[in-house]
Amino acid sequence: MGKRTAPAKTKVAKSTWATKRGLAQMLKGGVIMDVVTPAEAKVAEEAGAVAVMALERVPSDIRRDGGVARMSDPDMIKGIQAVTSIPVMAKARIGHHVEAQILEALNVDYIDESEVLTPADDRFHINKHAFRIPFVCGCKDLGEALRRISEGAAMMRTKGEAGTGNIVEAVRHIRTVKEQIEALKGQSEKRLRAAAKEMRVPYELVKLTVKAGRLPVVNFVAGGIATPADAALSMWLGADGVFVGSGIFKSKRPAETAVAIVQATTHWANPAILAEVSAGLDEAMKGIEMRTIPDAERLSSRGW
């Protein structure tokens, strides 16, 4: 591979806000798929995934197995990087500065500071400004999203409830973010300053968000997408794209399900195409009803 470095004479700047946020912008309208082996990464790329999330266990298995979930083995991440040409993301525990440093050293394309893993710090998230690599973080509401962005996150995803195959929490979270932005529109500076204080974020960030009418970074939906229709529903609600974890490789026919979810994310507004791609996929992942999950086992409650 002819890897070149950029020229030195004219000022060349790397890891700028534009390049960090920019990669997320390029992923929009696409599907990011959880993969646990190089073979799954190939299936994802073949299906048209825009990126893969390399991890040891998909969320539904983490949920089943219990115990402490940590960053993946670097060899496993390298194995996936070796077989795919699309961006490779990997997860670090909330607040685990050193796991993030290791992932940066592995030259992954994005780090997900993820509630799917067991948090390492009960007070602080990672100071993401301190890294050259961009971060994506989860949120349930506007305050959480803006706190992560002010810490340096260059991409957001609403959390949903990972590993459940149940879209209801994902819908709740993206609706909440949207409604909270709507509620601040047209408000006086005084009210916006009060909101910023309440959310513990800079006023300028609130002002920017309200003016744009959306988060200042790309926002995907995650946590519970199991069918093409779930992906399309996320897009209909205003998602920039979707993360699919257990939904693909825990289905009966992963390769076909992956293709169908990619098609549904592009053609979310076209019911005839959605009907076509939804047909013949056999069983989706089993799925869990929310009431059966005790509060202590809810992954989305991790992070603050």
């Binding site: 591979m1 700028t16 390029m26």
Partner: protein
């Protein structure tokens, strides 16, 4: 009368919206006062006067173009003289040759490209670039260019010409008639000149 009405209609610029940063391109078109339209299916291309292929993941776009038969109508649009601008992944789709085995998608620009030629995300960069003006009368102009996991144009064939190079000599913009492919992203850098050129060309091509 009909002619007067037709002259009044603004050109419609299609933006391929199967995946990628198409909204940023539509916003840029909006900023220059042009009319954009999202294109996901061949029928969406009816009545389009110019086309933008945005940045994104070329592997994903390739699958979606193939599945919905988008290549043939885009080639027909180019044959009719409509201007086409491909940014980053869009430039890969335009190329006649892709290094390391991938089949070309549109083959509208006589050049060989290499995907991710500068490395992974940590090697994404911003720089000042001198680019040959796309207008016949213009000289080189400076612009701010953002490269994200960018492709490099390894060489251009006889039908195409080089429009911009980095100081190290890497080709990052090429042109064949009304088809322009660039490795970087004017649409996320607040750079509107390329979009203005496209809209002007589209207006000219439509008046034919």
């Amino acid at each position: 009368m009909a002619g007067a009405l037709r002259r009044k209609r603004q050109p419609i610029i299609g933006v391929m919206a199967v995946q990628g940063d198409f909204r940023e391109h539509l916003d840029t078109l909006d900023a220059v006062g042009a009319v954009g339209r999202e294109i996901r299916l061949p029928a969406d291309l009816d009545g389009v006067d110019g086309l933008i292929l945005p940045g994104g993941e070329s592997t994903a776009m390739r699958k979606l173009y193939t599945r919905w038969g988008l290549a043939a109508p885009i080639k027909a649009l180019a044959t009719r003289g409509a201007p086409i601008l491909g940014t980053c992944a869009g430039a890969i789709l335009l190329a006649t040759k892709i290094a390391d085995g991938d089949e070309p998608v549109l083959s509208l620009l006589d050049m060989e490209v290499r995907r991710n030629a500068f490395g992974r995300q940590l090697d994404s960069f911003e720089t000042e670039l001198k680019m040959q003006s796309l207008k016949a009368s213009g000289g080189p102009t400076a612009l701010r260019a953002v490269f994200i996991r960018a492709p490099e144009i390894l060489r251009v064939g006889p039908a195409a010409s080089v429009v911009a190079q980095l100081e190290g000599g890497e080709i990052v913009a090429a042109r064949q008639g009304n088809v322009v492919g660039i490795s970087f992203h004017p649409e996320i850098a607040g750079e509107t000149r390329l979009h203005r050129w496209l809209v002007e060309q589209a207006a000219t091509a439509r008046r034919g």
